[in-house]
Symmetry: C2
Amino acid sequence: MQNFTYQNTVKIVFGRDTIQQIGAEAAPFGKKALLVYGHGSVKKNGLYDAVVASLQAAGLEFVEYSGVSPNPRLTHAQAGADLAKQENVDLIIALGGGSVIDEAKAIAMGALHDGSVWDFYSGKTPAEKALPLCDVLTVAATGTEMNGGTVITNEETQQKLGLIAPCLMPKVSILDPTATFSLGPKYTAFAGVDIFAHIVEGYITNSDPETPVQDVYAEGLMRTVMEYTSRCVADGADYDARANMMWASTMAWNGLLLAGVENAVYPAHLIGHSMSCLYDTAHGASLSVAMPCWMRKMKGFCKRRLVQFARNVMGVSCRDEETAIEQGITRLEKWYESIGAPITFTQAELPLDSFDRIVGNIAMCAPAWGLGMYTRDFVADLLRPAAR
Amino acid sequence: MQNFTYQNTVKIVFGRDTIQQIGAEAAPFGKKALLVYGHGSVKKNGLYDAVVASLQAAGLEFVEYSGVSPNPRLTHAQAGADLAKQENVDLIIALGGGSVIDEAKAIAMGALHDGSVWDFYSGKTPAEKALPLCDVLTVAATGTEMNGGTVITNEETQQKLGLIAPCLMPKVSILDPTATFSLGPKYTAFAGVDIFAHIVEGYITNSDPETPVQDVYAEGLMRTVMEYTSRCVADGADYDARANMMWASTMAWNGLLLAGVENAVYPAHLIGHSMSCLYDTAHGASLSVAMPCWMRKMKGFCKRRLVQFARNVMGVSCRDEETAIEQGITRLEKWYESIGAPITFTQAELPLDSFDRIVGNIAMCAPAWGLGMYTRDFVADLLRPAAR
């Protein structure tokens, strides 16, 4: 095991009928909040009304800021930060999925910063302070509700970049599985793909040979995510399925799986981010296209871990290691297909002639991800099997 | 999954050569510390010198308080709290295993309380404030380094009682696996038994049928604890074995395995505490005596979970459920024996005529543990197979 420091201060309030606690949980952090949400689906499914009632009951004044997009945009985040300054809010309350919470984190930093919000993502300014953030999670996918991470797309430079900082950890995250009931099967499947990717990429690239505590959890979480995502896709109102998918999602990306591991990196996320940045491909869809290609390319780099993945996660019993790896990847593809997640450009509605542009963007962003070996040629070779 | 709230603010600093960080990590919490440790083994193995050098380098003044016993005593904790008041210390620094840290927590509460330290354990006074506590862990066993729990023995009333409160979470816990190298094979084995018990008791008594996230982690941790404890017993200086045993120990009892589960209780700990309280039996030794008896008694109450335990933890493949359960328990007994942990009164050096007294003490303490069904008759029937 590698040396590490771990501290995660987020308070999780989990379970049925917990949304109405947001007011009381947020009140200790200030008197006036910026309420951030997306394009209004929360007004249709009743979540907005529940949150507003709770804030009012707690005596919290608030200003609204809506319109956050999937793959949230820098310009929108910047305008939110400007509004937060202008309205002099004490805290941010996010109501939404990973995109809303990620942009809320950008706003929370930007509200205390004189320059551009992008300064934090470009690395120009270290993220050291932010307004307190509380959230009500409506999509179990990114794990942002229990970490200090945020990802933003800069439309101008065509970069989708992220950062991680302790000051961006939410103070309180309300995880009510019923808040995810209205997410349809397609995006529920994409969410499951994302959760799975958060676990499997670090698991396969971890180069420390003795991390059993992290491994058993990663393996168990992956099996859980596959089973429970399938259940959620089949029945969106299955409470136990939603609850376990939600908790698995939070645990997948709260730092625990990475504490003590070595060299864990996220190349499938790098690849997927370029697809999303250029063609607005759904994050999960981009990952299911990228993942099997990436795993096959990794046969020459992470063979031992790919065998372990095939055996302990995908239940492959075949003795021959090469065959076991291929069977593991094939089983993963079959799971993706079973829940409606794409594994080719065509299925993901990406034009085939986008290939070169995507490959170029990946190679451009790779160094910022610590993935310098993902050059244009390397990526083209990796991704070509999906370009059909 | 059940509703739950989870927040664990402890900062973990894990790894080789981290002991020397204690001064810098503790310094933000005050200028003068009470340094709590046991009977001086830390002076022989160099840990004391390393800690003192680090405190001095950080400019931290400190007063020493040594002599903490295994199964720490109320009178000693009370005297420590009195000293902390008299010396007007700002924080507590604990150097030791679970007993030292548990007593340090008692002192941290007692230093801010006018009455007896026992008031907190008896339930008379709620634990709401305590001096900040930092620690250097020297035995991986109790998990107290990443939770708000503490257990103290009242010699006068012959009660060993515990409590859990957020204010008792350490601010920083230094987990350097090399600090556990000098723990001999006997107590290393007892430590492994304790870690295993923290996981298995809640796992078997959990009555929620859908907690896969908690289950896969509990099962994986149990397999890890068995494998790595055996390795540590065989070679106390095996760094990776010590590191993984240490991290498994911390993860076993930091609240994660219990978040969302239902009715988890700790009857083997109840039984073991009475043995320790009356006869000073080592905590781990008492647990390996109690555990197989308890599991066999649970066949009538937690059959489904015992089958799951046999299959997913002990690797039993037998189809018949009754046989599978018995095979699982037998394999656990064999593991205990393989590492030198006792499974009978005689092996634990408990006189056979102690049986009635122990049973009576368990029944007396049971209600405070929420285990009212553990009456004298119930416990006598449960424990009799070990009284040989």
